[in-house]
């Protein structure tokens, strides 16, 4: 199958890639670009383990074609921390014990990162609805909710 050229900005860096027209964005990120923080849990948009940030929206990269990301601004979990250290959502997940096996965590973090820009001062109920596209089997969500609340406070104070 003839490959297509795509280019996008990934975690602040310009990236060129050759992809099959049918290739899913999650496979381009994981296999071609070797950023394996974004995980595959269901390949059907249900679990959110593959969530990435695409042009300021949370998307499930298992049901986005790589060619649809041409020209986009993309952020994955690997792009959250910067020279100053961990992002507030990463730090808060550690502080509040918001992760166990870690498999859903990158998707949770990248969703929380976007959610807190959409709603910087959410109630618990708003967090539960705003994060509900991401599944976790380990934590029962309670500490993730706390982590998002903690991150919201940190970001508000910054």
């Amino acid at each position: 199958m003839a490959k297509q050229h795509v280019s996008f900005n990934l975690n602040g860096k310009h990236v060129d890639a050759l992809v099959e027209p049918r290739e899913l964005l999650v496979h381009t990120i994981r296999e071609t670009l070797s950023l394996t923080g974004t995980h595959i849990g269901c390949e059907s948009s249900h679990c959110g383990a593959c969530t990435v940030d695409l042009d300021g929206k949370s998307v499930k990269s298992c049901t986005v074609l790589a060619v649809q990301a041409d020209g986009a601004e993309l952020k994955t979990v690997e792009g959250l921390a910067d020279a100053d250290g961990l992002h507030a959502v990463q730090q808060a997940f550690i502080e509040e014990h918001g992760l166990q096996c870690g498999f859903c965590t990158p998707g949770m973090l990248i969703r929380a990162y976007r959610f807190l820009q959409e709603n910087p001062n959410p109630t618990e109920e708003e967090i539960r609805w705003g994060m509900s596209g991401n599944l976790c089997r380990c934590t029962g969500y309670q500490n993730i909710v706390k982590a998002v609340q903690t991150a919201a406070q940190t970001l508000q104070q910054a």
Partner: protein, 801 residues
Amino acid sequence: MDNAAEVQEREDSIKGVGCSRKRKEDARFVQGTGRYTDDLKLPGMLFADMVRSPYAHARIKSINKEKALALPGVHAVLTADDLKPLNLHWMPTLAGDVQAVLADEKVHFQYQEVAVVIADDRYIAADAIELVEVEYEELDVLVDPHRSMDDDAPILREDLVGKMDGAHSKRVHDNHIFNWQAGEKEATDRVFEQAEITVKQEMYYPRVHPCPMETCGCVASFDKINEHLTVHLTSQAPHVVRTVVSMLSGIPESKIRIVSPDIGGGFGNKVGIYPGYVVSIVASIVLGVPVKWVEDRMENISTTAFARDYHMTGELAADSEGRIKALRVNVLADHGAFDACADPSKFPAGLMHICTGSYDIPVAHLNVDGVYTNKAPGGVAYRCSFRVTEAVYVIERTIDVLAQKLGIDKAEIRRRNFVKAEQFPYQTCLGWELDSGDYHTALEKVLDAVDYEALRKEQQEKRAQGELMGIGLCTFTEIVGAGPSRNCDILGVGMFDSAEIRVHPTGSVMARMGTITQGQGHQTTYAQIIATELGISSDEISIEEGDTDTAPYGLGTYGSRSTPVGGAATAVAARKIRAKAQKIAAHLLEVSENDLEWEVDRFKVKGVPGQEKTMKEVAWAAYNNVPEGMEPGLEAVDYYDPPNFTYPFGIYLCVVDIDKATGETSVRRFYALDDCGTRINPMIIEGQIHGGLTEGFAVAMGQEMPFDEQGNLLGNTLMDYFVPTFVETPHWETDYTVTPSPHHPLGAKGVAESPHVGSIPCFTSAVVDAFAHLDVTHMNMPHSAYRVWQKVHELGLDQHA
């Protein structure tokens, strides 16, 4: 600073047992640098994908690979015929049965593996499986286990026809797997015949799936030159996998390296050895390149190890005061097409005979028949210890029914029947020794915390207004930490576990265990155990597991066995080191060993202030200045064979409100008190309890794997199979008491499965309680809105006056 404060400060700096230390694992996980099986990419690696049967029961008339092999990028298509010369088309199961690796002449369940395609990448492999042409001849399908032993039932396992000596008992029908009994049948029957009160309740514990976020997968890599096999795979028991792979392949264990890297949740799903692993290994050996196989979600739910599927009848005999005189339990167990239950070899129904629960029951009898049906094999312990969940469900449900029949409050009937604190260690009539417990104290603590009387009063008022409010109670005892090798083994290997600890010259520590974390936080908590035993900060202690080339042999992590067995091995190995360190310290201080006392992180000469050596100083000396005749170095290994299981317990209370119009159940309150003995890391314990309660909520309220009459699985995607989101999941309240295990070196018991085991009957108890005033004694799970609405409708509660 006074002395006591100084000692406390040293104690705190160690971050040992009892401290809510933040997790060591988290830094890599929050930065996306965890290393899970599917993250591994090796040079030249190919991908495997499965051709699966659309039929539940059919004869394979032909398989045509030509079109698939003609597709560019396809390297091989393997079927049972290709595996036959290697004698790998069937493999032994953990339960003494055999299982087809690839379907041999017949398929026995829908989605069974029929052929494997090996291709350049997963896209080509997916294309190729569509090109493999399989011609089937459909056979009569057996779905209902109650029909398995009918005279006219279709015979599933042609390989077993006439072989009536099963792995665990005589078989009485070709679709019969085993009969297994515990207790005294005649004595129990006699009590029932003479009892003042008897109750009997049938219940079905549905077939469910653990459904971890990460599916199962592996990367097999055979080095033809050195004849060395490396397999990275999602296994909760990597050392056992090495032994099995060696037995199957003939490759010496010394030339097999099994690595369980980071695992995205297990919950029992990753205990078994699956056809995907075997064919990947074969393909790598045949093709000489690494081969990766990773399930998609449908394959995961459909084929790799379901749980439960027990049709149970619980019966209690009691006096008119509700004091239990006998228990009788009958089980029909649907094991699917191959008996691949993951249980200790001697126990085909796992630890089901813990079904006397927290109660002082004089006599009991348990009877279990396992049968074949046209469904996927499995029967793993989904976040529980070998059928404990089923055992707790049957006793907790049945005691509720007894309370209802007698008009005794469900808390009161438990008070009257609990094993009393002074009765421990308590011998159950089905053969277990409950090591410790204090059920009455824990129950009263919960009833006070929720103001139980006020809740019951509110319920009366609600009922008067025609509203449905239910209060559920579950007072469970678990049996975890398999287990003593006298009665627990897997394929003949005793169920000990191990720890190897090395103290470096500068006093830091590297330790390795035979268990494997899947989110439980072993890298954090094992370090805390060593920190307390050796007085070295847990931040300077590195923990490694999962690589069979480096870790000592162990049986792995499932059935809440890591703390009871692996944690015990860790403590004992550390104590061996401290004993040696004490000799070195005595040598350095020129006193007798007996003149020394231990204080947090150092040995002190009794009564001589200032005469002391820290563990760090001793560590250095261990490499250059040891007593005459002592070997240098400071390390130890322990293989811990536990003298008994541990028996954590809990008291759970749940309050629900049910919407009569929709049947939706709203969990207003869930209060969970757990007693796991000594608490190593309270933060992690609480996290584990939240997770277990949420999985219990999922099972009770929505999870099931329904089949139609043709054996088609009707719910194998996350659209159909219930995994609760943030929105459905209730808020959890947790509490604890501490009753240390008398035989565990730290007094600790397992904990992470209690909330799953205990919450499920609690939810059922609450939902049924909402209808109890209408003489409803039981409702089968899952308590989905539709099913609850059906009950509402049946009772006419949705009719307007």
